[in-house]
Amino acid sequence: MSHLQLELKPDSTALVQLASAVERFAEEAGLPLPLAMQLNLVLDELVTNTIDYGFAGREDGYIRIELHGEAGRLRVDLQDNGVPFDPTAVPPPDLESDLEQRRVGGLGLHFVRELMERVEYCHEAGENRLRLERALA
């Protein structure tokens, strides 16, 4: 069983801390490199969204992340005290239009859905709570 807990402040150091924490977890859990990079991408996209839109200059913002690997499954729990935001309610991006028509943006949450098998959201006790799951291989 592998386990890692991390609390990030919503600032420019968050992504660097996140990347090194994912690296530590990946090593401990024996994740293959491609999966470690996918996990980093998924968390990067979610954390970046929360930092960009969640706190509007507030000083008391936090993002808590828990990574849990057991019995071939990876579980990720994210909690933040930013404005309520349900990433599972965001419509999928446009992946079909040609270059001129293609809209800029919206890909981050698409990666989360593509790379994780389950994504569940709730808002409880003043927190956005997101649980992600997938196979550990």
């Binding site: 420019s12 992504l15 660097v16 990347a19 491609p34 990079m37 980093n40 991408l41 990067d44 996209e45 970046t48 930092i51 960009d52 992946l95 079909e96 040609d98 270059l99 001129e100 293609r102 800029v104 943006g105 919206g106 890909l107 981050g108 698409h110 990666f111 593509e114």
Partner: protein, 111 residues
């Protein structure tokens, strides 16, 4: 991250290196768009790019749109496997000119 450049066969070759994420995307966007305004034929050699998130893809899409509008040419090459996968998930392999080798990319921007 770094953005090295060199000139070859009438084209500018840009080599971004490191991580292209929301921390680095803004500076990369400014540097890239400046180079694209000055050079109509550009190859982006991504062999040194270790990581890209949607913030980085946004910059590449804006750059490709600008090149198309100004009737220039832009080709990308030498994507690492993880970067290639992110391009594939994004549908970027069909809207951008993506080549395996640098020579191929140079040929595409000259043609």
């Amino acid at each position: 991250m770094e953005l090295n450049h060199e000139l070859a066969q009438e084209a500018l070759i840009l080599k971004p290196a490191g991580r292209l994420d929301s921390n680095t995307a803004q500076a990369f966007e400014k540097a890239l768009l400046e180079q694209l305004q000055a050079h109509p034929r550009v190859v982006l050699d991504l062999s040194g790019l270790d990581y890209v998130s949607s913030a980085g893809l946004r910059v590449l899409l804006i750059a490709a749109k600008q090149v198309k509008q100004s009737a220039g040419k832009l080709a990308l090459c030498a994507l690492q496997p993880a970067i290639h996968q992110v391009f594939e998930m994004s549908g970027f392999l069909t809207i951008l000119t993506v080549c395996d080798a640098r020579d191929e990319a140079l040929a595409r921007v000259k043609g």
